[in-house]
Amino acid sequence: MTARTVMQQADISRALTRISHEILESNRGGSDLVTLGIPTRGAVLASRIGAILESIEPGSGTVGTLDVTMYRDDLNRTLTRTPQPTRIPPSGIDGKTVVLVDDVLFSGRTVRAALDALADLGRPRAVRLAVLVDRGHRELPIRADFVGKNLPSSLAERINVRLHDVDGAEDVAIEP
């Protein structure tokens, strides 16, 4: 069996535009928003969402990255992971609405790690979660606030997100 493409480049950019609008709607405007991407692909998506937010409502596109490597609960079970930089905007996250961005929401463990990492950086007013793909199979009580596409999948399948900035091509595919 070969990989099945479920989102093309245009689908991805439409989904990001919709998510950006939903973020502004739920936040009732663009004030005190900080969009933080989880490296690698979440960081790329966050900077794109930031650019869209900025174009809709100038001043709302503050972005950064949040590395969660050190907070993972599987550090001793997988091979050594090299941490990626964490870049928090100089204005900080205290009292802000932080939107976490990742490419795929699966077990929820990455998001759990991200919440721990955020707690060490400050105290946001609220934390929201935006993902490009929600593939189900949660192992923790975590859900996304903004979802690009719900993609019911079997545990045996692999969801592969490719983005131009990282992979040179752009699509979402299910691999058996």
């Binding site: 590395d67 490597t69 050190m70 907070y71 550090l75 001793n76 079970r77 997988t78 091979l79 050594t80 992971r81 090299t82 941490p83 990626q84 930089p85 964490t86 721990d116 707690a119 060490d120 950086l121 400050g122």
Partner: protein, 317 residues
């Protein structure tokens, strides 16, 4: 990495990897909670058979910032003074479940012995063994130089083309040895300057240039001048006539300091003998990186502990 005993066996990619992780670690220091949970539940033992302020505290801070449990053990006040051997001490630590042992020992090769032996299967970090090596000091020196050269864009860079002059007691200096291997691996050009009595015979086989005249070496315009401590505790014979003569010929005094271009880095691994190998004016000048080196030491040691202790055993060579 299985152990960190020597910088000789570190490849260029590994070295850059450690320095890059150290960059991430240094960001943690400025946070509201300067602590990462990565090594929660790990036990790290500081096993110090020799006196140390900087290295011992630095490793302790590094391990604590990564949430490990740290036990500090000094030979003074332990069963070592009752004659316990390194082997027995190691087996005791193994029985107590140490995940990593940071060892400083007056005998060259002590860390290597622990790493190779079957006494203990913890990760071994060499924190200085006799006159052999002190790898984390070299890593923090490389980190400090790289940061001063590349600033915030240091990630991924080596030290290619950087000219480093190391001055002083090369013979007894483990810092010099570790730095020679690491800095040349990273692409730097190293020159050693010392009185002939303080150069080891093996220096001819090292990938370095050797000079005897400090003024001459400084006139060549090195990017980095690293002054070494005169190790009175290891000098059991006379290597130079008097301290004053050493200082006149090989010390970085205020006159020599004034001749250096303003962008030269002046480094010293500490503790400094002010007035002997380095003048107070030189040690406290803005060109001096002495305090930066200490701060960077914590980041580099966090990176080393993280890379050694995290990951699946089977995956790591």
């Amino acid at each position: 990495m299985k152990h960190l005993v020597s910088t000789k066996s570190i490849s260029r990619d590994e070295a850059i990897d450690i320095l890059d992780v150290a960059e991430d670690m240094s960001d943690v220091a400025g946070r509201e909670v300067p602590r990462l949970p990565a090594l929660r539940g790990k036990t790290i033992v500081n096993l110090f058979y020799e006196d140390s302020t900087r290295t011992k505290i630095s490793f302790e801070v590094a391990a604590k910032r990564l949430s490990a449990d740290v036990i500090t053990f000094s030979a003074k006040g332990s069963s070592v003074s009752k004659g316990e051997s390194l082997k027995d001490t190691a087996q005791t630590l193994a029985a107590m479940g140490a995940d990593a042992v940071i060892v400083r020992h007056p005998a060259s090769g002590a860390a290597e012995v622990l790493a190779r032996s079957s006494w203990i299967d913890a990760k071994i970090l060499n924190a200085g063994d006799g006159t052999h090596e002190h790898p984390t000091q070299a890593l923090l020196d490389a980190f400090t130089i790289r940061r001063r050269l590349h600033g915030d864009h240091a990630r991924g860079h080596g030290l290619d083309g950087c000219r480093v002059t190391i001055v002083g007691d090369i013979e007894h200096s483990r810092v010099a040895r570790s730095n020679v291997w690491l800095l040349t691996t990273l692409g730097a050009h190293v020159t050693l300057v010392a009185p002939a009595t303080l150069l080891p015979p093996s220096v001819r086989a090292w990938p370095v240039e050797v000079a005897f005249d400090l003024d001459h070496a400084l006139a060549a315009g090195p990017d980095v001048v690293m002054m070494l401590r005169i190790q009175a505790e290891r000098m059991h014979e006379s290597f130079f006539p008097t301290e004053r003569e050493y200082s006149t010929h090989w010390g970085l005094d205020d006159v020599r300091m004034r001749r250096l271009p303003g962008n030269t880095l002046v480094m010293h691994p500490g503790p400094m003998n002010r007035g002997l190998e380095i003048s107070s004016g030189a040690a406290d000048s803005p060109m001096s990186t002495v305090r930066e080196q200490v701060a960077n030491g914590v980041s580099v040691r966090m990176a080393a502990l993280y890379l050694l202790l995290i990951g699946n055993e089977a995956e790591v060579a």
